[in-house]
Symmetry: C2
DNA sequence: CAATAAATGCACTTCCATTGCACTTATTTT
DNA sequence: AAAATAAGTGCAATGGAAGTGCATTTATTG
């Protein structure tokens, strides 16, 4: 069992109170969050700090960025073994049109996509939109 | 053979000089264009007019919107028979990281995506990023 | 403890999307 | 055909989110 401190250190990220808080916030969330979500959760902290913290996490592959088509960038913690950079490891994201939340469907890998001759695929973004389990249940 | 005028009228869109020009511009383009692209092509026209024209086209299923992850909304003409609303008819988009252009790969349909129980899929956005045929050729 | 580097906070800028309102142009009604 | 109405266009302004420069604080290193 690795502590958050150890995780950050293993990625060459200095441990600060702010970063621990933001990490915990992301860990506790079951859905992808926007910068504004984080901002609202930490009203005392400056937006820039939150922004740069998330960017740092992103660079060090602690979180991955999600473009779910709402026009607002969202972030979610990478799962253990999540290699977001590796094309073959990409998972898909589900955006609920009802509650407006976006979740990672980590267990659902993106199927092989064929592209025409001459095209070289490097990265794939797949977002399914619809109604999530929470909203469809009722 | 249907004229542009007839097409617009069939969709309950009034024919104006501006709309014809914008339609022709989109038709001649082989790639998805941003609002700024259109703006640059019609410097005499106001940005708002272009914006609203494209929005009108979008509502009436003459163009479809593309979110290729660049953060800037792009638009492309729907092909004949393109039913962007129908999930099963969705095609994928390819964004070139080199020339920054986005093209519709209309002939490449999106494979069936499985989502977990309780999730209802209504729409799918799939963007493949990499190098396009023009840029990989050299 | 001093020197250095990184982290944080504040202010500001930029870019794109969008809207309100006035004005013009087209369409419909009398 | 003129008046009334509706739609289209242009100008100005707003809002939201992303990003940057710089000063200040906090942590790290010698």
């Amino acid at each position: 069992m690795q502590t958050i401190e150890q995780l950050l250190e293993s990625k060459d990220i200095r441990v600060t109170a702010m970063r621990l808080l933001i990490y915990k916030f992301l860990a506790q969330k079951q859905v992808a969050v926007t910068l504004s979500d984080i901002e609202n959760a930490f009203e005392k902290a400056d937006r820039t700090t939150l922004y740069r913290t998330v960017k740092t996490f992103e660079e060090k592959a602690i979180v991955h960025q999600i473009d779910d088509g709402t026009g607002i960038t969202k972030y979610a913690l990478c799962e253990k073994g999540c290699n977001c950079e590796i094309e073959t490891d990409l998972h898909l994201h589900f955006h609920c049109n009802n509650c407006n939340e976006t979740v990672c469907l980590t267990e659902h890998k993106i199927p092989q996509i064929k592209v025409p001759n001459g095209f070289i695929s490097e990265d794939i973004n797949l977002v399914v939109k619809g109604i999530c389990d929470k909203c469809s249940g009722q």
